[in-house]
Symmetry: C2
Subunit: 243 residues, 2 copies
C-alpha cells in the first residue's frame, strides 16, 4: 500500500474493472473455441495466432471511432469487421453466416481467470464492483451470466459513447455511481487504462496478468505501474483492500 | 398465458423490471425507517401518511422534467426537494442535515416484497433480468446490494435522460440489451408503465401488488391489465415463464 495509510482505503466506495485481459482470458478462450470449431469444420490454422491478430486489430478500430473517423459502433460490429478480414487472411473457408455470428460472439463467452470470480465475490462484500470496459452493455451482461461474474452493475464505454482511454468514459462512470472520482478505484492489467483513470482523479490498482498475451507475450509488468495498489491476482487485491 | 402458445415465450430473452412498488415495498420500508427515526428523535407523526405524501409528490416532480420545465435531475434531488417541503408540512423539527441526507437515502434501502429475491433468482436462470426504473443507477445499485437483488444489469431512466413513461426509456433499454423490443418483457405492478412499454413493442407482465399503497390503498388490479401475463407475485411469474 506504499504507506498511503488507512484513510486512503476508507475513501474508496467502488471498484471499476477493465474486463478483457484483466477479468477474463480472451486469448485462451478464443484458442479453445477456435480449436473446437476447427475440429468440427476441418479448419487447420493456428488459433493462437488468430486470437492475437483479432485482438491486435481492436485498438486501431476503436481509435478510428475515438478520432471521429467512424461513428459510434459497438464491439460486436468492430469485432465482426476484423473477423471477416481475418478469415480471408488465414484462408478459412466454409464457415456459414451462422458460424461467423457464433464465432464473433465468443467475446460474450470469455472465460474468467481462475482467481476472478472468488476475488470479485470477496471485493463485493466491501465495495460496489462494476465493469468499466470497452465492451458494450449487452456483451458484458452476457459474459457475466456465462462466466458467473457477480457485478453490482454493468458500466461500459457505450454509456459515454466514447472508448477508453477517453476521459469521458471514466467521468461518466463516476457520475453514474454518484461518487467523486477519488472514491472510485480503477482495476486493470494495463497501465494505459490506469493512467487515463488517474488523470480523472480515480485511484488505481494494477493486477498482473502474465499470460494475457500467451507464454511469449509481453504484458505490462508490475514494476512499471504507478498504481496505488499492485496485485498478483484478485485474491491478492482483495486482501490488500481489506475485503 | 391467454393461449399465445410456446412460440411467444421462446422469443423473450430479457425481463425489465419496474422497481418501486413492483420489486420493493417503498411504503412499508419508509414507515419502518420513519418510525425508528421518530422514536430516536422524538418525532410523533403518522409515518404512513408521510410515506404516501412523499410518494405522491414523485409523479408531478418527474413530469416537470418530462415536460422540459426542469432540467434533468436524478431522484435523490427530486426526493430531497419533496422531503424538505414535507418536513415543514408535517411540522417536523430538530432534524440535522445529516439526518435529512440519511432519511432521503431510505429510497436506496427499500426492502423487497417477500417473494422478490427468490422469484428473481429463478427468473435469472432462464432470462436476463434488469431493472428499468425511474431510480438512477447509483440508487438502484445501492438497493440491489442492500436488498440482495440479483440483477444481471442495472438499467435506468437515467441512461435515457427521460423518465418513464417516455418511450425513450424503453427504447434505450432494448438498445443497450441489443435486443428487439419483442424480445423484452416489461414487468410492473402499474398498467401505465406496461402500456408505454407495449407501445414500443415490448411484451408485458403485470404483477399484482395489493399492499403497495397500504391496506386501504388503490393499486392497479389484475383484471384491468392488458398484459401478456398476469401474476400474483414473482414466483407465480417464474412458473408462468417456465423458470
Amino acid at each position: 500500500m506504499d504507506g498511503k495509510g488507512a484513510g486512503f482505503l476508507e475513501t474508496i466506495r467502488a471498484l471499476t474493472f477493465d474486463v478483457f485481459g484483466t477479468v477474463v482470458d480472451w486469448r485462451g478462450s478464443i484458442l479453445t473455441e477456435g480449436q473446437r470449431l476447427g475440429a468440427a469444420r476441418g479448419i487447420h490454422i493456428d488459433w493462437a495466432q488468430f486470437a492475437d491478430a483479432w485482438r491486435s486489430g481492436y485498438r486501431p478500430s476503436m481509435d478510428a471511432v475515438r478520432r471521429g473517423d467512424s461513428p459510434w459502433v459497438n464491439l460486436d460490429v468492430l469485432h465482426r469487421r476484423l473477423l471477416d478480414d481475418l478469415l480471408v487472411r488465414f484462408g478459412v473457408q466454409g464457415l456459414s453466416e451462422d458460424d461467423r455470428v457464433e464465432l464473433n460472439r465468443v467475446w460474450h463467452r470469455l472465460q474468467p481467470w481462475p482467481d476472478a470470480v472468488e476475488g470479485l465475490q470477496r471485493l463485493k462484500r466491501r465495495y460496489t464492483i462494476a465493469t468499466l470496459s470497452n465492451g458494450h452493455v449487452a456483451l458484458l451482461t452476457n459474459m457475466a451470466k456465462s462466466a458467473g461474474l457477480p457485478w453490482d452493475c454493468v458500466l461500459s464505454a457505450e454509456l459515454a459513447r466514447h472508448y477508453k482511454p477517453d476521459v469521458e468514459v471514466y467521468q461518466t462512470a463516476a457520475n453514474l455511481l454518484d461518487l467523486e472520482p477519488r472514491q472510485v478505484m480503477m482495476v486493470a492489467a494495463h497501465e494505459s487504462d490506469l493512467q487515463a483513470a488517474r488523470r480523472v482523479g480515480f485511484r488505481t490498482a494494477f493486477v498482473y496478468r502474465p499470460l494475457e498475451f500467451g507464454p511469449t507475450g509481453q504484458p505490462d509488468l508490475p514494476g512499471v505501474s504507478q498504481a496505488d495498489v499492485n496485485a498478483d491476482d484478485f485474491l491478492h487485491l482483495a486482501s490488500q483492500l481489506g475485503a
